[in-house]
């Protein structure tokens, strides 16, 4: 019988203290922590039961594991375990929160508020609700990537049933003032949902102190497995109700049917427990690595621009535009380092990052951006290697760049009459 083929990332080279390739794209996903994996493994094999099986030990063991995970998630975010609904991930959580609230509260109002740099799972769910007759306000962001609370105040009205604004942005790592947003929202009697995917496990997040009514969580963004997430749904002050978006056996108190992903849930639980124990120390370490990277790059290269606030930012995030250098060509030059770019050439839509465009930096800087996501398993030696490779490659590509040459000749690129795009 033929074996199924699979390929591995090949750690082919070694450069001094670092093994290549280096993974520094921890906003896309993270490596499952070995301690998380260890805890998951028995639930694939001897403890393989269905958590919904009420009549035998296999089911009881699985259910017990699920309930322990629920407790651990709740503890990390200041909730109670009954407020945690398991899902397949944050996209599903965002969909359930937005569509479930809209459908449940449509008699009360038809207005939803969000903002322009949300993840597509939120933006597209909101667009869907527009098709169903809801009015959606998309708040702009300021140059630092944060919304203006006065804009929110003006947008809130008696028909506002939901405000959905992320805790931390996936591209620029900027933290929104969620505590203030939640407070303003509650003053007007609306519910506050936050896509907290990038924030949970990285920065302090507490649903009571932060005035959050619904929060989307994803395991694989903080060293848990892919394919599992959760939605926090507040049960008191106020009690939030949802219309289920997936019908079936009535799992998760009727809010989300479907056999529970026990192994994934166990992993999510352990990831939360680890975050609770190690987050403070880890945040300090990652921020130091991030600053080391930033200082190395900015000390050596001119005309590099940080996208988004440095003050209100995830510790491991760094998003930089290297003027006159196109992002995909830069990625190609540092091909033993895994990072992302906001360049159009790296996106499926061939559009540059809408998040960077929303900051008002101009499309040219969006094309030139690189996102570094430093995580738990990155080392100082890796940061130094990445900084060195980036500097070499940017310098090489600038020598190749007509824009750099023109800028050095003193030509104002903004005033050049560029030839129109080819039409074929």
């Amino acid at each position: 019988m033929a074996e199924l083929m699979s390929t591995n990332v090949t750690a082919s080279k070694v450069d001094g203290d670092v093994k290549l390739p280096i993974y520094m794209d921890n906003h896309a996903t993270t490596r499952t922590d070995p301690r998380v994996l260890q805890e998951m493994l028995p639930y694939f094999t001897e403890n393989f039961g269905n958590a919904a099986s009420r009549n035998h030990e296999f089911g009881w063991v699985a259910e017990q594991a699920v309930e322990q995970a629920r407790e651990r998630i709740a503890r990390l975010i200041g909730a109670t375990s009954k407020e945690i609904i398991f899902t397949s991930g944050a996209t599903e959580s965002d969909n359930l929160a937005i569509k479930g609230v809209a459908e449940m509260y449509k008699e009360k109002g038809n207005h939803i508020i969000t903002q322009t740099t949300e993840h597509k799972a939120v933006l597209d769910s909101c667009k869907r609700m527009e098709k169903h007759g809801f009015r959606v306000t998309y708040l702009p962001v300021q140059k630092d990537g944060r919304i203006d609370l006065d804009d929110l105040k003006r947008a809130l009205d008696d028909k506002t049933i939901l405000v959905t604004i992320m805790a931390a942005n996936n591209e620029i790592g900027v933290l929104q003032p969620i505590r203030e947003i939640g407070a303003l929202c509650h003053e007007r009697g609306g519910l506050f949902h936050t896509d907290a995917v990038q924030a949970i496990g990285k920065v302090p997040f507490n649903v009571i102190q932060d005035n959050v009514d619904l929060a989307s969580i994803s395991a694989h963004k903080f060293y848990g497995p892919k394919g599992v997430g959760a939605l926090y749904v507040r049960r008191k002050n106020p009690r939030v109700q949802l219309v289920a978006q997936i019908d079936g056996g009535g799992h998760e108190r009727g809010m989300r049917s479907g056999t529970l992903n026990v192994t994934g849930i166990v992993g999510l639980g352990r990831a939360c427990a680890l975050a609770g124990e190690e987050m403070a120390e880890e945040a300090t370490r990652l921020a130091a690595l991030r600053d080391r990277l930033k200082d190395a790059i900015m000390g050596q290269l001119d005309e590099v621009y940080i996208n988004g606030s440095m003050e209100h930012r995830l510790p491991g995030n760094m998003n930089i535009s290297f003027a006159y250098v196109e992002g995909e060509s830069l990625l190609m030059g540092i091909n033993d380092v895994a990072v992302s770019s906001g360049s159009a050439c790296t996106s499926a839509t061939l559009e540059p990052s809408y998040v960077l465009k929303a900051l008002g930096a101009g499309d040219d800087l969006a094309h030139s951006s690189i996102r570094f996501g430093i995580g738990r398993f990155n080392t100082e030696a890796e940061v130094d290697y990445v900084a060195k490779r980036v500097m070499e490659t940017v310098n090489r590509l600038r020598e190749l760049s007509p824009l750099y040459e023109m800028a050095k000749e003193g030509i104002d690129l903004k005033k050049v009459q560029w030839a129109a795009e080819p039409t074929h």
Partner: protein, 143 residues
Amino acid sequence: MAYSDKVLDHYTNPRNVGSLDKTSSEVGTGLVGAPECGDVMKLQIKVNPTTNIIEDAKFKTFGCGSAIASSSLATEWVKGKSIDEALTIRNTDIVKELALPPVKIHCSVLAEDAIRAAIGDWKKKNATQSETSPKDAAVEQRT
């Protein structure tokens, strides 16, 4: 996303990088694309005034690896060709040579445009000496 070996080769060892004196009457300069679109190519040719043969070509490109490779290849191809021969280079030839995937075809289009813009600029500069028809001079405006 995997690049063809030829794209990687041109990206790693670009041919004919640099600039020629754009004020010289023997030099034609084409600058196409726009920073907002993520691609700008500058392609220059140096033409022998008696033979109309392109003796030298240089480029600089802001763009993805395929854009760099397309313009690098374009300079290789135009060198040694007459103006008329260089005008027969088609973007589809570049696509074929570099094995560009469909999403990168616009890079080859831009390279063809850059060749035509450079030739157009040279023809404009030399309009009185050479028997350039108005139609040919207009290629620079071609979009």
